[in-house]
Amino acid sequence: MIKVNSLIKSFGHPETRVLKNLSFEIPQGQFVSIWGRSGSGKTTLLYLLSTLDKPTSGSVTLNNNNPALMNEKQLHDFRNLNIGFIFQFHYLLPELSALENVLLPARRNNLHKDYEPRAIELLNEVGLGEKTSRLPSQLSGGEQQRVAIARSLIMKPKFIFADEPTGSLDTQNGQKVMELLLKAHNEYKTTVVLVTHEKEYAQQAERRIFLVDGIIESDETKG
């Protein structure tokens, strides 16, 4: 469960408020999309929800943990075990194979050997069972994003945060990524927060938060 309380985020001098006093909750296991036009503050909100950034005022808690109050070790342990990230530009390490990329979170704790079967299974699930030893440069954009999805799932995180994961993909590949996210959500009961500016993807989530200029314009849950 994610709790957002009077969240404000401002940048620069003179200060411009990007997020203007947001309060909402995301129950455990929900698939939420945050959508809105470019510049509406989606990415800023996602970073705040996902421990990457700290609020100017207000608070964000994940299962009652406030990342703004954690020390470096606690924060990174928390990220490693509880959060999976998927970015628009897939962000794989170019010198590692698909499998090694998926195992990176486990390698942090020297558990990459133990997690190898699961990593292979995940790569199978995203349709890359034959390409586990390929380098990112030997994979297509869609395939790279699927590796990133597998990597975000490796530690069985409670939360997945995805920022425009379909942004750089064509419709077919974008839809495939979307389906994988939905499947992971169904299988592992993971809370998924998906940021997108494309309505077609936003609509596939069970809840849709519509952001306009840093304010929640609408918040709809499928009946």
């Binding site: 990457l52 470096e72 990220r79 490693n80 075990l81 962000y91 942090r108």
Partner: protein, 411 residues
Amino acid sequence: MIFLALRHLLSRKKQSLLILIGIALGTSIFIFLTGLQLGFRAYMIRQLIENDGHVKITGRDETISPKNIENIFDPKQKNNYLWVTNPAGKRNESRIASPFDWFTFLSQNSDVSGFSELYQTQVLIRRAGVKRTAQLVGIYPQRHRMVTQLESFITEGKLADLSGGGPLVIGGAELLDELGVAVGESIFIVGLSGEMLPHRVVGRFSMGARGIDNNVLYTHISQASNIAGAQGQVSQIIVRLFDVDQARPIADQWSQWSVDKVESWDQANAQFLEVTVIQDLTRNFITVGIVLVASFGIYNVLSIIVNQKRREIAILRSLGYQSRQILELFLTQGLVLGFIGAVLGVVLGYLISYFTMNYLHSIAKSQVQIEIDPMIYLQGILMAVGSSLLAGYIPARAASQMTPIDIIREE
């Protein structure tokens, strides 16, 4: 993080290789240069010690006055003569005041491994048309070879040939060549009253030191003092100690209670040792230069790598890698480069030293050794690894301080 560090290095083979070459070259130059200098110095010192012993006792330079030369006259006639002009100047040959006290002392001293007294005098030599002066050094061959390396420099004949005494000499190679005399032939030494004393050349030595090779004749001590009319006199005692490092304190101690001049080998060669200080300075200077260049190279390349890897740093941080681990990631790269470079450099340095030495020995018959002291190699490795660590630290630290959000926002 070693796994990732190695992958990083392998993914930019050319850059890594360039740094490796830089470090290896730097290290090998250090090793070669240090080995060469220390080897040359050790050689020189060995020469000095082996020829002059560890401690050298000589008579003090005396000024001549009517009083201290009156013993050349018959004591009974003491009052029957008068100086027209008082004798003055310095004695030509300084001699030790009471050599027998020294012999007793030295033979009982537990620091002393051996000693050999000698008598040396300037003589005039003739051979056919050639006439020149030389230093005639009278020694006890058996004792002399215990305290110096003279024997090993003898290229024809042997030191023991002088043992019986008599008119036999072993000459410096250049001196003999100048006189045009071969081993087995004879020269004339001009005696006190101008008589020509034939001496047979029984051997030939070459020390590689010009001042000695073209100036010195060795003979038995009795022969040398006979020619000079100075029977029983000793001009020098060469002492060999068990521990050469004690030479200086021992010489200082002895000279305090002796009228004679007592010098350790390093005191006697202070000038040469001053040169070695300058050599040390030069070498350290070059070493610092090499370290700076290598460090700068590592610093540069790692800075570039860090910059190119910003995005990866952001991912690693978002996956839970802490800043300490990012620091490790890049520091490890510096360390790996430094260590492999150092090992290559040490091997290269050894090979250069080895082949240069062979080459020197083959063309010049020189006995200079290039020092292959493990300490130099250890120093080289430590220097290379240390400077790569230091040089890597700055970019690595910069990388570790980047937060993922800063990196992502920059794009």
